[in-house]
């Protein structure tokens, strides 16, 4: 299967640099977005798969790798079926939690149990419908691999299970029962980098065009290091904001701080202050920490993806992304959301153009052996609803 490449590799051993260029335009996407929103509105959402395919086709067609555009081919009708299926599942899932803790828990277990399978079929569907130079991509990951990737999640689940089993009288839980909730949160946070590393490994070890498969070489340690740094960046702005808002509240009026006789413990003015302080803290964290994490994760993941004859280099700078995100937020707020498509295009441009493909195989010599297995469209829609975004 590989011999066509090894031969090609020997013949063309000099490196080819394939820069990525994004030619999408904000105004073009704005027009698409508005018209598609209207169509979704009047069709009560049934138009959604068509709008999504149009958006993905536009973004793919404007992503030029080495001067040649990517292609996206999914059939909206196929996606609509999956959309109904997963939509019903999602509605049941959302509703279940409202009835009792037990039904909510059951729904959660069911969704958690099928989530890896959905991830696999979502990846398969997305890649089989993506092409470059007339060749379809493949996703070679297996269902078993997807389940193995989510193994870290069993650790907090075991803590929960132990806590539930360990309680004799559910009506009078001992003190450690509540402490164990804290432990669950901590353990979940602690295994999260491991989980993400597993998932990225699962994805980036199995991309193939057509038989040129990528491997993922980032280490688990590098993921933990990234998370620690991101945590530092997250706490940096939240600390001062929290201190400042507390100061404002205390200075402003210390007497109505938790006044026991007032109608409610928190007066409207204070609630507003808290609301804005909380909003400011979260917004600052999102505006600063999120771009940091996005930029560093993209660089780590893609620069460590490749094989003997192919590698990616991602050089996305945090400072550039930070300024772009700040500008986007300001303009989105000032335009009541109308700037959103421009922002989406600008972010896509910056993130895509930061990547270069370096290959020792002349792209002209790639040959397809077989058609990709398409997988289930349901998986792709599940990706939208249950938060398994493939990302870049």
């Amino acid at each position: 299967m590989y011999d066509s490449f090894s031969k090609a590799g020997v013949q063309h051993s000099e490196a080819h640099h394939l820069p990525i260029e994004f030619t999408g335009s904000g105004s073009e996407y704005f027009r698409m977005w508005i018209v598609n929103l209207l169509l979704m509105f009047v069709t009560l959402g049934i138009y959604y798969p068509w709008a999504k395919v149009r958006r993905l086709r536009y973004f793919h067609a404007n992503t030029l790798v080495g001067g040649e555009p990517m292609g996206f081919h999914a059939d909206p009708k196929k996606m609509l079926k999956g959309y109904f299926l997963v939509g019903v599942l999602f509605a049941l899932y959302s509703a279940a939690g409202n009835f009792s803790a037990l039904t909510g828990f059951l729904a959660f277990v069911i969704v958690a149990a099928i989530w890896p399978a959905l991830l696999k079929s979502s990846m398969q569907f997305r890649l089989a419908n993506t092409s470059w130079r007339g060749l379809r991509f493949h996703f070679k990951g297996s269902v078993g691999g997807a389940y193995r990737a989510v193994v870290p999640l069993f650790v907090p689940s075991l803590v929960i299970l132990a806590a539930v089993v360990g309680v004799d009288d559910a009506n009078k839980p001992p003190v450690w029962y509540f402490a164990s909730l804290g432990v669950v949160v901590l353990v979940t946070l602690a295994v999260f980098p491991w989980l993400l590393w597993n998932l990225k490994q699962y994805q980036h070890n199995h991309y193939a065009l057509p038989s040129l498969q990528t491997t993922f070489k980032a280490t688990l340690g590098s993921f933990y290091k990234l998370f620690l740094k991101a945590l530092g960046v997250l706490l940096l702005p939240i600390g001062p904001v929290a201190a400042l808002s507390m100061g404002v509240v205390l200075l402003g009026n210390s007497t109505f701080f938790f006044n026991a006789t007032s109608r409610s413990a928190i007066s409207p003015a204070m609630a507003l202050t808290f609301l804005f302080a909380g909003f400011a803290a979260v917004a600052t964290a999102l505006v600063i920490a999120r771009p940091y994490f996005t930029a560093r994760l993209q660089n780590l993941v893609w620069t460590r993806t490749g094989n003997v004859s192919l590698r990616f280099i991602s050089d996305l700078r945090f400072s550039s992304l930070l300024w772009l995100i700040i500008k986007n937020w300001l303009l989105v707020i000032l335009t009541f959301g109308l700037y959103w498509p421009f922002a989406a295009v600008a972010v896509a441009r910056m993130r895509l153009e930061a990547i270069t493909v370096k290959t020792r195989v002349d792209p002209d010599t790639l040959v397809s052996q077989m058609r990709a297995v398409e997988g289930e469209a349901a998986g792709d829609v599940a990706g939208d609803l249950f938060g398994l975004d493939i990302g870049l």
Partner: protein, 365 residues
């Protein structure tokens, strides 16, 4: 159409062809003849039914790529030439593409969206939520109410310290007031008293459980008329099944705002939810106030008792805000920002409403 372009494309369009097997581009000439797309190049000729081709949508910028079902594709960097060729060959854009290409139709779409959005928010969604709730069995309300009560009991409430006979007296007073209601119009209800950490308050849960805090009873001096009035308001929430309706409306708003803003940010999607819910909540309070007035009038109690309640609540809040020049409530709620976030109409509006109802009541009796 540009004449030179027509002359150019009348003999076919020069494009690059990828055959779907090798990644090498081959020069090809494209022609559309009788519903077939014919590709000719050095050493090959291919014919594909034009309706099986995934044609690119016309855009102002970027190149044009058409995909074939077997994975092959043809592309042309000169978008203007491609469009001229398509037009020359008698193919036209779909109306969606035409709409996307014209700023005028985009502007019209934007206006339509704004109008439709407002209409749906104002009438459509409340109407649909009402219909959906009407079709939902009452048992859903009850189980929802039970789940919320146990959640609230865990976090905010302690058992009531009111004597049982006092609780019974207040319940009996409310039951007497309801006796004047036509048979079959009163939903199932149950009164629950709790000592709380949230101060004087009362609220209704879906399914008919109404909770009043001991602090509320103390605040109004255990006046059974005022307590009845408060319960009548809460019964309005139960009768109109506001709890379930709010749930439906919140779910829809959250869903729509996340679709509109894509996966851009959950925070931004949360803002419309917060603002949208507040307005629905104020409407629900108005509905419950109207119900309270109806019940009180039928029971021969002046709706004016509600005014006493508001005055007592305001008096409770006064000392808290006395160091400032004005009451916190009135400054916070009279600003537009306060109104946007407030879940209840302003106290002044509600007092005026009940005063008017009390005057009407006096004129009648």
């Amino acid at each position: 159409m540009d004449l030179t372009a027509t002359a150019h494309v009348s003999k076919g369009l020069a494009a690059s062809y990828f055959d779907g097997v090798t990644a090498r581009a081959q020069a090809a000439t494209l022609r559309l003849v009788a519903g077939d797309l014919i590709l000719t190049g050095e050493g090959f000729e291919r014919c594909v039914c034009a309706s099986d081709v995934q044609w690119p949508e016309r855009t102002r910028y970027g190149l044009r790529v058409a995909h074939f079902a077997d994975g092959g594709s043809v592309q042309c960097a000169d978008a203007a030439l491609w469009d001229a060729w398509r037009q020359y060959s008698g193919q036209s854009d779909s109306w969606v593409v035409k709409a996307q290409q014209s700023w005028r139709s985009v502007l019209v779409s934007l206006l339509l969206l704004a109008l439709l959005g407002t209409a749906v928010y104002q009438w459509g969604l409340p109407w649909a939520a009402r219909a959906l709730v009407a079709a939902t069995p009452q048992s859903v309300d009850s189980s929802l109410g039970q789940a919320s009560l146990s959640a609230i009991d865990e976090s905010l409430m302690q058992p009531s310290e009111l004597p049982l006979d006092e609780q019974a007296r207040l319940s009996a007073a409310f039951a007497r007031a309801l006796a004047a209601q036509p048979v079959g119009t009163v939903p199932v209800w149950q009164l629950v008293f709790r000592k709380s950490r949230i101060g004087p308050n009362a609220f209704a849960l879906p399914g008919g459980t109404m909770v009043m805090t001991d602090e509320m009873v103390t605040l109004v001096g255990a006046d059974d008329k005022v307590i009845t009035a408060v319960f009548a308001h809460e019964l309005g929430h139960v009768r109109h099944r506001h709890g379930l309706r709010m749930l439906v409306q919140a779910t829809v708003i959250a869903g729509v705002s996340s679709v509109v803003l894509g996966d851009f940010s959950t925070l931004q999607a949360g803002v419309p939810l917060l603002l949208g819910q507040a307005s629905y909540s104020r409407d629900a309070e108005k509905e419950a106030d109207a119900e309270a007035v109806r019940i009180l009038q039928a029971a021969g109690i002046s709706p004016g008792v509600m005014v006493t309640l508001f005055e007592k609540l305001a008096a409770e809040n006064k000392p808290a805000a006395s160091d400032r020049k004005d009451s916190v409530d009135s400054t916070a709620q009279s600003s537009w920002l306060g109104i946007a976030f407030a879940s209840h109409p302003s106290d002044a509006d509600r007092i005026a409403y009940f005063k008017q109802a009390a005057r009407d009541f006096q004129e009648k009796s």
